[in-house]
């Protein structure tokens, strides 16, 4: 056993209550600036402002700032964490995973780092995996970090380059952000952290993929199936590695999977019953596009008009909003992204 391991075996007392809770939700702010959207004229329905990370920031820097805030707010150290789940499609390096760099910068040499790439549903998948591991007592304290520096896909763009209309739509809404939170039990907080912090209980959670319209929002290159080389110089010059979105196709597909999720998986909670105040959806399109399914668009919280598309970090921003507000007790939080991958969660404030 490595001598610098502070925590003991992952097998824990059976007396410990293992209801998973979300707490310590934090967002990176150093070096992140809101800007007026320079692409408004290019795209109808573009957000009026976007968020940009300073050029000298690496995604791991934003991730570490958020994760550090989370640990400090909860009175925890990285040694208390026994798993990091990193949700990102924008790592510092092509590989190894961003999780490795985040853990190193947080000062850990032992905590395992799982890296998942689930687009906007990434935080829901992380919640799903973390909550199962906590309930099963296979982990005690899971740090979830979401990092998306989406604007950097297009940073190589220059005026002489012709990009498609679908790529212009993605460029008009891509923003940068990082966020973090902990999934653990109340007992663990009492023993090792701050038991007074506000927490969210996960009442119900669903994650799933509907691949019928997988190409409605995608980044096609690099592709291991492209020969002789997965990404060529010509591909880069022609911008073939930029993201794109076919909005009408994505709207149709994501509405379909959203309806499936609500009808089949949240039937015991009709949206009207659950939400005294809070419904939140984050997707690469405006939440109003889901009016057909949700039918409560005047109550849907949507970051898109003000901050653009933040990928899985958009869900963390909504989590922070949930956990900080006092008026309502429950909320319905949805993330929809490329795949089409969807995550939905009913959360209760304790």
């Amino acid at each position: 056993m490595r001598s610098d391991v502070v925590w003991t075996s992952s097998r824990i007392s059976s007396e410990m209550d293992c209801t998973p809770l979300v707490c310590g939700v934090s967002l990176a702010s150093d070096g992140f600036h809101k800007i007026a959207n320079p692409y408004l004229s290019e795209c109808f329905e573009a957000p009026h402002s976007l968020v940009r990370a300073a050029p000298e920031l690496a995604p791991s820097d934003g991730a570490v700032e958020a994760a550090s805030k989370t640990l400090i707010d909860l009175g925890l150290k990285i040694e208390n964490v026994d798993l990091l789940i990193s949700s990102t499609q924008t790592p510092d390096l092509n590989n190894p995973s961003l999780a490795s760099t985040i853990l190193y910068k947080l000062g850990s040499k032992v905590v395992p780092g799982l890296e998942i790439k689930q687009s906007t549903a990434g935080v829901h998948y992380a919640l799903d995996i973390a909550s199962k591991l906590i309930q099963l007592k296979q982990r005690r304290c899971v740090l979830v970090v979401a990092t998306e520096f989406l604007s950097r896909y297009f940073a190589g763009y220059h005026d002489s380059l012709t990009i498609s209309d679908f790529q212009k739509v993605m460029r008009s809404r891509s923003s940068d952000a990082a966020g973090a939170f902990i999934v653990t039990s109340q007992k663990y907080l009492e023993n090792f952290g701050d038991p007074q912090v506000k927490t969210l209980q996960i009442d119900s959670l669903f994650v799933g993929s509907d691949p019928q319209a997988w190409d409605s929002y995608a980044v096609l290159l690099p592709s291991s199936s492209q020969f002789p080389i997965r990404l060529s110089r010509e591909d880069v010059i022609e911008g073939k590695h930029f993201p794109y979105i076919d909005q009408s196709k994505f709207i149709s597909a994501s509405n379909r999977v959203l309806r499936y999720m609500i009808d089949r998986k949240f039937s015991e909670f009709s949206v009207g019953q659950v939400c005294s105040a809070k419904i939140a959806i984050h997707a690469p399109i405006e939440a109003i596009k889901y009016n057909e399914v949700i039918n409560s668009t005047d109550r849907i919280e949507d970051l898109f008009p003000d901050k653009g598309f933040l990928g899985s970090v958009g869900v963390v921003e909504h989590l922070k909003d949930f956990i900080s507000q006092t008026a309502s007790k429950r909320g319905f939080l949805v993330g929809i992204g490329s795949g089409v991958q969807i995550g939905g969660a009913i959360l209760g404030i304790r």
Partner: protein
């Protein structure tokens, strides 16, 4: 408790021998064999159109059907997919959703896309085990799959890594253990990450640490940032230390000893590492190796090796086996299975 119902593998038809490599780079069979133990590897359609072209997920589909058939399960019974790869069909979304589509699974199911390099399969087993043990899934496909041949430097400048990496996939079917004897049970998993050496093994571009993820200039001067880079001696030193350690730590956590192990199935990175592992458990357990024929298939390495060990009758019911990985990150881990 989660159990492994079946493990099957699939590799592309085309075999590239060490002599084939020496036709386009300065290397030799003797040089490759003595340094890595590799005699040949499978690459997807490398300059020979008579071999069938396929994508990452199409390759996996072949192995998945075999594994499901072995497990006596239908495609429609798959209720979650955990897909570990560093060479997906597209950058976004991952290959897991494409596999779901190819399997004809229409209702949304969880599809987890894992990026943990050589340890991806064991991380995938951790996720799958949680899905099964929690009762939310009854049939999880855990995939380790790579098409690395399209991302290698075929010039002499790239020979240090190009001769090592290869294509292939393995699929495990994870189900609840309903048998009282506990056949093929996953007893425990231990994973570790130490990121201080992230620059010792990996690929830099495209990456997001710079404002530009990849630029045309990156393709100049040998395009080194676009291909795998490795400090081989350092990786060997670290693997030699941590692979045996994580196995021993996991055995100890479960009140087991190395003497009770029947077989270790390691990630197939280099025969010298495999030999080191054998030496560190001298006389106590056999260590499986197939690197001579398959090369280093990163996330696919362990399931391919496990599939072969099973098909060769080397693992019998009741045997205690350990899977062990070490790879870029660095991340490493072990999984104990009561077969």
């Amino acid at each position: 408790m989660a159990s492994i119902a079946a493990v099957k593998h699939f590799v592309p038809e085309q075999i590239i021998s060490n002599d084939d490599l020496s036709a386009f780079m300065e290397t030799s069979d003797e040089w490759i064999r003595t340094r890595s133990g590799i005699e040949q590897r499978h690459w997807l359609r490398r300059g020979n159109e008579k071999f069938k072209s396929m994508t990452n997920h199409e390759m996996v589909y072949n192995a998945a059907l075999q594994a499901l058939n072995e497990a006596g399960l239908a495609k429609e019974e798959v209720d979650a997919i955990v897909y570990a790869t560093i060479s997906p069909d597209n950058e976004v979304p991952g290959s897991g959703v494409l596999l779901q589509q190819l399997l004809g699974i229409k209702d949304p199911i969880p599809v987890v896309e894992i990026r943990n390099q050589c340890s991806g399969f064991i991380f995938g087993l951790m996720v799958a085990r949680s899905y099964v043990d929690s009762g939310s899934s009854k049939c999880v496909l855990v995939v380790g799959a790579e098409i690395q041949s399209s991302g290698l430097d075929l010039s002499t400048a790239g020979r240090a890594t190009t001769v090592l990496f290869a294509d292939g996939c393995g699929v495990a079917v994870i189900i609840p253990d309903t048998c009282s004897e506990g056949i093929h049970q996953i007893l425990g998993i231990k994973l570790v990450t130490d990121g201080q050496y992230a620059d010792k093994l990996g690929i830099r571009y495209p990456g997001f640490s710079r404002p530009v993820t990849v630029a045309p200039d990156d393709f100049d001067n040998g395009a080194t940032g676009l291909f795998p880079e490795m400090d081989g001696k350092f990786v060997f030193k670290m693997a030699s230390h941590f692979m045996p350690e994580v196995i021993r730590d996991l055995l100890k956590e479960h009140d087991l000893s190395p003497a009770q192990l029947k077989m270790i199935i390691p990630h197939q990175a280099n025969q010298r590492i495999i030999d080191m592992l054998q030496a560190s458990f001298a006389g106590e357990v056999s260590v499986f190796s197939n690197i001579a024929h398959y090369g280093n298939t990163t996330a696919a390495s362990i399931p391919i090796a496990t599939s072969e060990a099973i098909s060769k009758g080397l693992i019998k019911s009741g045997d205690l086996i350990a899977l062990v990985s070490f790879g870029a990150g660095f991340s490493w881990g072990a999984c104990l299975i009561r077969w």
